[in-house]
Amino acid sequence: MDSVPSTDRGGVGYLPSAAETLMKLVVTGPFGVGKTTLIRTLSEIETLHTEETMTQAGAGLDDTAGLPEKTTTTVAVDFGRLTVQDDLVLYMFGTPGQERFLPLWEDIARGALGALVMVDTRRLGDSFAVMDLVEEQGLPYAVAVNRFPDAPAHPDEVLRKHLDLDPGTPLVQCDARERRGSIDALIALAEHALTRLPASQEPS
């Protein structure tokens, strides 16, 4: 059976020739929290994804009970691209926040500006492990509470308390389907990342 070409030349968003500097950040959080939605809202190209295969010891993984010691997991990584200035392009990688995806995580997080940790107020507890993982990586992060229409609204300070957030960690409430709020979340992360960078050295 002939397959439909996966490469539609009309749909390939080639990089503008002025794009000299490419930065990246990680969008993470539990499954179903809206990572891909946020990336789709912001991306100027159709959201892309790669399938990454990971082989690892299976011990301790509840979903591989009864299988041999090694298991292979395929993880889909969604990503998108946003040109913020003519020569400056930001890539956003949606990465699952589970510990078992750590090797993949390290690869994607290397050189990243920071992480946006997405939270669903109906299952705050699912985000704890994600925040732990990000902290272990030493990445600056901001928390983006995705305001699902049917989720109860809470004031920032209540959410901060329940998430046990450090006072310096930004928290933004947004709707991942809405562009302005999603950009605000990126701004909060970038501002926070800036505070963690050493003061610029005067060029000599």
């Binding site: 070409p5 490469t7 892309l48 790669t50 890539y91």
Partner: protein
């Protein structure tokens, strides 16, 4: 043989020819790949050919190539590294001065993000 784009022809783990390291320093996932005007020799592998064809109209990062070719990023790094070594592709690091993220870069990012409001 029809070298046109489509589903991958061989399993991803065979793309690397069974090697565990590429033929040069590993490329960053965000390295920008640019097709040179050097013709591919006959006998070039199908995956290498697909990558070069994808890049004929313009530049893309390694990870975007991986997505368009339906290959894992790691396998695409292998392919691209070999094609850079053979002169059929050029690769540009994502950040020009090969340095880390510095304040001026993040400040420019912030200016850009605020202008998108």
């Amino acid at each position: 043989m029809n070298p046109g784009p489509g589903r991958r022809l061989i399993p991803a783990y065979l793309v690397t020819g069974g090697r565990s390291a590429p033929s040069g320093p590993a490329l960053d996932r965000l390295a920008v790949l640019i097709r040179t005007d050097t013709d591919l020799p006959t006998g070039t592998g199908a995956e290498q050919r697909r990558l070069c064809e994808l890049l004929a109209p313009g530049a893309l990062t390694v990870v975007e190539c991986a997505a368009h070719l339906d290959l894992p990023a790691g396998a695409t790094v292998f392919l691209a590294t070999d094609l850079v070594a053979s002169g059929h592709l050029r690769a540009r690091p994502p950040i020009p001065r090969a340095g880390e993220i510095d304040r001026s870069l993040v400040e420019r990012l912030l200016v850009g993000l605020r202008s998108l409001h």
